[in-house]
Amino acid sequence: MFYGQVDGPIFESDSLAQDADSVNTRRNTPSQHSFLSYFGRINYSLKDRYFFQVTARVDGSSRFGRDNRYGFFPSISAGWVVSDEDWFQSPSISFLKVRSSMGLTGNAALPDYARFGTYSAADNGTTYAGDSILYPLQPENPTLRWETSRTVDASIEMGLWSDRLTFELAGYHKYSTDVLMNVSTPASTGFTNFWDNVGTILNRGVELSIKSRNTVGAVQWTTDFNVARNYNELVNIGDYTPDAVSGGTNDSRVIVGRPVGSFYLVEHSHVDSESGLPVYIDLDGNETYDYNNDIRKYVGDGLPEFIGGLNNTVKYKNWDLSALATFSVGAKIFDSSAKRQLGVVSGWNMRTEKLDRWRQPGDEATYPRLTLDETTYSLPSGFPWWNTSLFIYDASYLRLRNLTIGYNIPLDPGSTLQNCRVSINATNLFTVTNFPGLDPEVVRDFENAQDRNMSPNVTYLTPPQERAFTLSVSTNF
């Protein structure tokens, strides 16, 4: 049995915290939650080549009410070292193993007290006409329950030529139901959002890892390569619309049949060469000059087709050199700040790309005519946020993420030092990409998980990752 208790902030969610702030909530008491788990595991190994494991666990969380508090999450796995079979004779395959598992897992990532209907404290300090007030903070949701994922995975591991070359191919299929989300609710209910089990999400993917000891002996050169393809899809969100779940910079949504956090924008077609006005695509696929939030649709997502990395390490005598390159292919980035920096001219600093703008009839330009008036682009008055697919870019990149060269200084046998190493490390030395912004690898800077999950590959004045050079001298006594 395991029991854990945690004190922390009341809300893990910015949006809930902001909502609470808006009604003058004072909350100073640390938030608390606990988990209570019972688990058992049986491992069985037969002849050191057949492996079985069965686990069963019951997890309880204080975040759920009595009726839904516990979840039962069993799993089963099996492995088989094929290369250990007597009948397996191969001059080149030195190791071969297959394994697979399936099981249920639970997730309770929600604010500690989301299930409770709550009111302000009696001494909340807010008055009207000198009289104190009491007000509701959040609605009760007694049906909150564990988000559950059914996972099936399988892999094959192989070693060739005395494991000079090893590789692993793995795949997984994860089907999550009762996904916990902070959803917007109709304001006419008296509240604007609450936590609920609303979604069904599918994740699946395949990953290939290869390790090669290219040379052994005086020069030791090792190469690690991995590549993965992951897929994510919102399968169901009940009666909710894409606008029910938002987060991040507010340009991405949940759309059934698409990855979570897909870009949900008006589709931009081109700039009219005669008028200099932007042309949009409506829901029927027709060109239109009319911008309207009702014609927002899925226009892309940040999910890459492939991601991976290549790491080479070379050691020669006391020297070592390692270089790690990472890559991503096929993802899109929505540059959310471009809607102000390349759109309607305002108090924002404009970007130089705007020079490629329409100036006179006949111009074939990327950006429409300059304007201070949002209605020129058919945006509604008071809505200068030119949110269109024009600012979606290919985010493919190849990056030399890490380069290290080191030297282990030889020490006398009687030295008091156990070792002494000098190294120079460089990170993010260069990036090959067509993305015109600062960094094609978006590192989300939101505090809460829903904001991060909802805006993968959306930049909004997001600072790029730094290029750093480090000289290190290390030793152990």
Binding site: A129, I133, D239, G382
Partner: protein, 454 residues
Amino acid sequence: MNIKTIFIAAGFALGLASCDRLLEFEPGDVILAEDAIQSPEDLQRLLVSNYDILANLYGGRVQIVNELRGPNFGIPDNSLDFTAVYNRETTFFTGINGGIYTDFYYAIYRSNVVIDNFELVTELTENDRTRLEAEARFIRALCHWGAVKMYAKPYGYTAANDHPGVPLRTAPSQDPLPRASVGEVYTQVLLDLEYAANNLPETNGPYATKSAAQAYLAQIHFLMEDFQEAADYSASVINSGFYVLDDDLDRFETDIINPETIFGIVSQPNDFRSSWFRDNLRSDNTSNPQLAFSEDFAFFMSLSGAADGRSVWYTSGSRALINRFNEKEYFNIPLAHLTLMHLIRAESLGELNQNLNVAIQDINAIRARAYGAGNNELPEGATNDEIIEAARDEFRKETACEGFWVDQLLRRGASGEAITIRGAPWDCPGMFLQFSNSETTVQGFELNEEGGCL
């Protein structure tokens, strides 16, 4: 099963049960909903939170938005939200309309909670219960009516008033609701206010009274063009003896409840509730305030010349700056007041073509204050059309910045008059604010058509 096994199993079960207590955590310095309402004081404090929301709504925000929909205000300086309302192009992303809508329903929800939870408080007297329900229904009515006027085409737009209004919520519920018809909303609003009028006390500090409910019944029947009821309810308030017309033209007073105020918002030295007026309208706060009167309104005001005491409420120029609230850091805001009652009664009697002498007295009481006694009076033999015209002129002037005029134009448009507002038909789609974006989060909610007024 031997005795040892039974003991082990029982011990394990007991262990599970006792461990369950380790999973009990409740929030610390907030109150659980089931514990929140236990005494009459709790209900009263919940009720006062509704007045707090009304103060947030009517501390200038609703008034300004309604003036921006109408012809009295000019183009805003640079506020995006004000510009969206002024150009009648609000969307569900525009903040100000979403915020107002949300606040209306915060108050409606809380009112419903008050009404729904009397049985939780055993020591509640029958008098208190009745009064609390009357106040809660008063606020619920104000908010439903306030919302339906802003987010739906007006009463009378269709003969049966079956055009879409706003969600009608008469019980606390988290279930999404579609828009009720305008007729259904008005019916419920009248029911609530009639209950309030029959059960509210005649005096109630800064809170709702019998006269306040009657004053709103007069306004609502007036917009429904039930002129007899409008005249009768306004007469009841005028004749109640609780209110007198102020000697001067300033109803927005600091630290004083103006004697005309039937119901209003209270500001206090440490609790300014009039900041929207101060921050956006006062011409002495900044040389370029966010909002100013329109040329049309300035021209209309100029027709009566400097003899009209209300002419000091604006300054002529490229922007007709608003002076009505100058030099006031905070003030109380009348929402229903005696001037309104006199003008509603006058126009209603004019429409009914009865008791015209009373209508003339109503108008002349207002004019005497504006021009000085005996000046610019409506003659005794004025026709009903002249009375209606005079009542409308005085209404537009007296309620400048109070957000009432657009409702009158929409009423007249719905009754067949050819009304245009800043060059667009009175019923162009964008006149009616778009709903909050949160209302679109559930399939099936009917949004308003946007734009179409430029």
